[in-house]
Symmetry: D2
Subunit: 345 residues, 4 copies
């Protein structure tokens, strides 16, 4: 049987990354996965090769309009749409269609938080496509609707999770996360122009205002089984891809206790790399991969635990997690088609 | 009278920046400041234009060896040497010679801290060349020995100082500071190669091990008049210059209280720019200047104060502070020759 | 007497660079130059500090609309407008007002070339603001209307000029010029987003279609006193500023003949730096300066002359040349306020 | 049967890239290819994960010394050594061992050219691992000694080859090629430090002195069946990977003639992408792939043909070509394990 896959929002970076991964997926090469409709909004009618010049095998595909009719008849539909547009599409497709949403619409459980951070009405909550969370792998495997985590939440949660699960830190965490600019999407804005970004480092969404804050808080509070206060500061750096999350919390535990907790939490996880003691990750080493690479430290003088996590925001942070969730939901090998060796240097 | 200035360690980035500023200094243009001996270690004998290709007016100067004999006969001697080498030079020069040391040797007051972080014996403590600290301007103005602050400390201290002076935050601060790679100096190392740095973001010196940690702690503890616990994490980003410091501390004060404290602390300071509420700095806007640009925020949900500061690590972070100190000590206008408009974009 | 200066198009990169230079101009510091009206199109009404975050001294200025009324009453008006808009403004201002146009409208002498490359009707020809051209310094000094050269033409012409003046190369030249993205202006376009530009190098305007081609051809043909065929290929590289022009032409002359010709042509030119034999420039060394730095080579095996020139496209390539022209036209020192030491590294 | 593969010089960028590709090679995943000894010079004894932090699956491998004894017993040996060291290793291994040399030692046919450009004595000539050259695929397929082409030659030759094969241009070509800094290797040098490279563009090896010049000349002269004069200028740009070659030659042919020639020459070539007329490549779109992407143009005003080619210097430019050659020589599918979708943006 051939699984037919559509990508809605194929002109954006999330859509492009999903297509990059699907092109190299072993099921595609074996003829078991077929890349079907590719849709867009204002870019409908455009040749894909004019938008994603790296997708050589799909260069002559023409983007169609994002409508339920075009997306019907596919086994899997990936959504890479601006927030607020996923529900209408999902409602119009059969419940049996596997829908993997890279947008924010179905990530939050608390309707008030949704309204506070995104405005408008909450569309609902779908299974959260982060199989590394306790108990979550089975939920994703059985789902036909999956909400792919945000890029900052992916690295922030996975870098802090075991510390909170094991109760080794105070429930107040400070996360400063530096991201390449592909995370800001492909809409042309002056402050994302290369001339503004190159040679400069800029904080934005300071003071808890970034929309990924409640998503991080939700997952960490569940892990800690108590409310966790999250100070989250995103920073834009001059790279295309990659997020480095610097996570700090007060602790009286030893580094050995942390290592035990992390090794236990991530035992057998194919996409989490725990670095040897004293080493810390860089985003360059995970470029193009579905990996999260983590380094741990305890600063006894200031009484703090410092964990550093690195991720490719477009792969594990978006498109890779989407494909990982698809693999699980289709009963395929979870890691199929997901690179684990970075394109470095 | 003409002031004759020497630069020891002229082949490095600190020395080069001092020369850049001296070339454009109005006293140089007026013939009142003369650039005398330029010295180096292994680069002695080299044409300056082969090392600092931006210093067109000095391109044909030949570097001499760094010895007391070569440096003698100058009114001002800037030192840009590896740590541990400044004391011997200083001891061999007359007490009346103004020595401005860009190295770390004379910054710390606590000899044990020196030994812990740098090894070997503490050389002593010189007036700290940060005129913006309470009471410090007068001390610097009257000194003939000045220790230029480190680059990370400059931006970290100035970004947090008023909050601690006013007692508005708990005495536990988290600083995550992203730096361009010129801060790591000019020695060739594999991990500083462009191929390793470009497209990547990397934390280093994690867990309180970076040598600038005790320097930050010293200044902030004095401001708070109590011990301040500092969690400091430096991050290397792919820019040549610039540090962005993200500083977080728990607070119950309001943003208005912080603004009052910062406006009071920096009233009349020519090199501190307090951004309007809701705006935050980027390193690009201070490129080549002696400015520190600061934005403030209170995140009420997590109970934290977040201040962001940006500085050019080579200008205000090193060479600019050195010239600022020289200006003060010579009785010239403090801001002479110090750019306040960034080279942007 | 105080000279009052307006900048029309102050929100763009050319306008911002002129303001950067005017802020540091000695006549401004002495109170002899006053920065008057700053105007914009869609950005009228905006605080300058929100657009050019590096212009700290002017941060609270509010942009006005670009109209003749607002610009009236100034001694000098700089124009940094999209092409086609300068003539109407110029016509509405008195002939005695010094107008320095950073746009393309008045650079070309041949009306057909204008129509071919820009479309529409030719507005006329103004004195060309490149004082380094033979006989041009006097023309600029006596003008009240000046057309600032394009950025690619500036570096291409100055890098090749002496070779053509001396008749040392065949009149067919190949120029490949790599530019930072500030040269493409500040309008938000997808292909100028940092995520598209970083880590990538891209040719554009290939095959003689770039609008700067006829401007280069015009100047080189005049220098050679015969038609010169110019193959010009611009390349976009991931830097904010800087153009490196690689210029090649067939020759049977020796490197010594070229050096004699270049030294003679640029004798006494403050803004042209001829590197020692065997050295070649990089854009980083001229960052923020009004310099053109040039290296020469003869490849005897292939029978070619290769000259490499570097320039900051926003300074000598636009705003610096504009201020240089203003200085000349006002009878001030030609180099006043124009940096000659690069911000490097 | 399992093919056992060794990599000598595994600590460098070429060795690292070969390992990246071998990790994802389908024969590795199927257990038919085994990664055996990994060797180095001064890095012998080091954990691979400390040198290539992207190679997660091989992180705990320890580098051995590069000796014939360590390399014996492997079916395939990749060499990524400084030039001059390959012959001794090759002589000590059995003739049946497939040796794929990423160095320059066996690329040139003319011993005098070798001595002129590299010094010392010529070691010999091996089959040239560029299957896209006429008649070369069969030679590589039958070889046990293969010389991998240089990175600049790969893109230069493939971008110009059909024009010269078809006799459409004069036999004098100008190539200006911009490269990321990984092409300069991993030895720490001041001029390759990020602080020197970022924000700057620099020509080097100007005037026909770069060692890749005779290699380009050799291939193009053979294609043209007459001596071709090559003016080659390499330029260093601030990216990690990627070369963009701008190739110019005088012509009186039409663009249609060129398109016919290129389509014929590259018909069926999996790794050559000919862009639609009017489009030109960027290095970002081929990042991490074995592709060469080419755009064509004729500038009728200047009478020149301009072809632009893009390649990833470490993949198709080194490690990818090495694996492609191995695939051919082992009778495997030529494209196995070689990415054709770029990691973009």
């Amino acid at each position: 049987m051939t699984i037919k896959v559509a990508v809605a929002g194929a002109s954006g970076y999330a859509g492009g990354e999903i297509l990059r991964l699907l092109c190299g997926h072993p099921r595609t090469l074996a003829g078991e996965l077929e890349i079907g409709a590719l849709t867009a909004g204002s870019n409908a009618g455009t040749r894909l090769g004019d938008l994603h010049r790296n997708l050589f095998p799909l260069a002559d595909r023409i983007l169609e309009e994002t409508t339920p009719e075009v997306l019907a008849g596919h086994d899997v539909v990936f959504l890479g749409l601006p927030h607020g547009q996923s529900a209408a599409i999902a409602d119009a497709l059969p419940p049996s269609t596997l829908i993997v949403d890279c947008g924010a619409d179905f990530r939050l459980e608390d309707a008030d938080e949704w309204t506070t951070y995104y405005g408008g009405e909450h569309a609902g909550t779908w299974p959260y496509g982060m199989p590394e969370l306790p108990g979550n792998r089975e939920i994703v495997a059985g789902a036909t609707r999956i909400a792919v985590p945000g890029c900052y939440p992916t690295v922030s949660i996975l870098t802090l999770l075991p510390a909170l699960l094991a109760g080794l830190v105070e429930p107040t965490v400070t996360i400063v996360a530096m991201s390449g600019t592909s995370g800001a999407g492909r809409s042309p804005k002056v402050n994302l122009l290369a001339a503004e970004v190159l040679g400069s480092v800029r904080a934005y969404g300071v003071g808890g205002t970034h929309r990924h804050t409640p998503e991080i808080t939700q997952a960490l509070s569940r892990a800690a089984d108590m409310p966790v206060a999250v100070s989250f500061t995103p920073v834009l750096v001059p790279t295309t891809r990659g997020i480095l999350a610097t996570c700090t919390a007060r602790t009286s535990a030893s580094i050995d206790e942390f290592r035990v907790a992390y090794e236990k939490a991530y035992d057998g996880e194919a996409f989490v790399n725990l670095l040897p003691q004293g080493e810390f990750p860089e985003t360059g080493s995970v470029l193009g991969t579905n990996m999260v690479s983590i380094g741990l430290s305890v600063d006894e003088r200031s009484g703090t635990f410092v964990a550093i996590g690195a991720v490719d925001n477009l792969t594990k942070g978006t498109g890779g997690a989407a494909v990982q969730s698809m693999n699980l939901a289709l009963g395929w090998g979870e890691g199929e088609g997901l690179p684990i060796v970075g394109v470095a240097p």
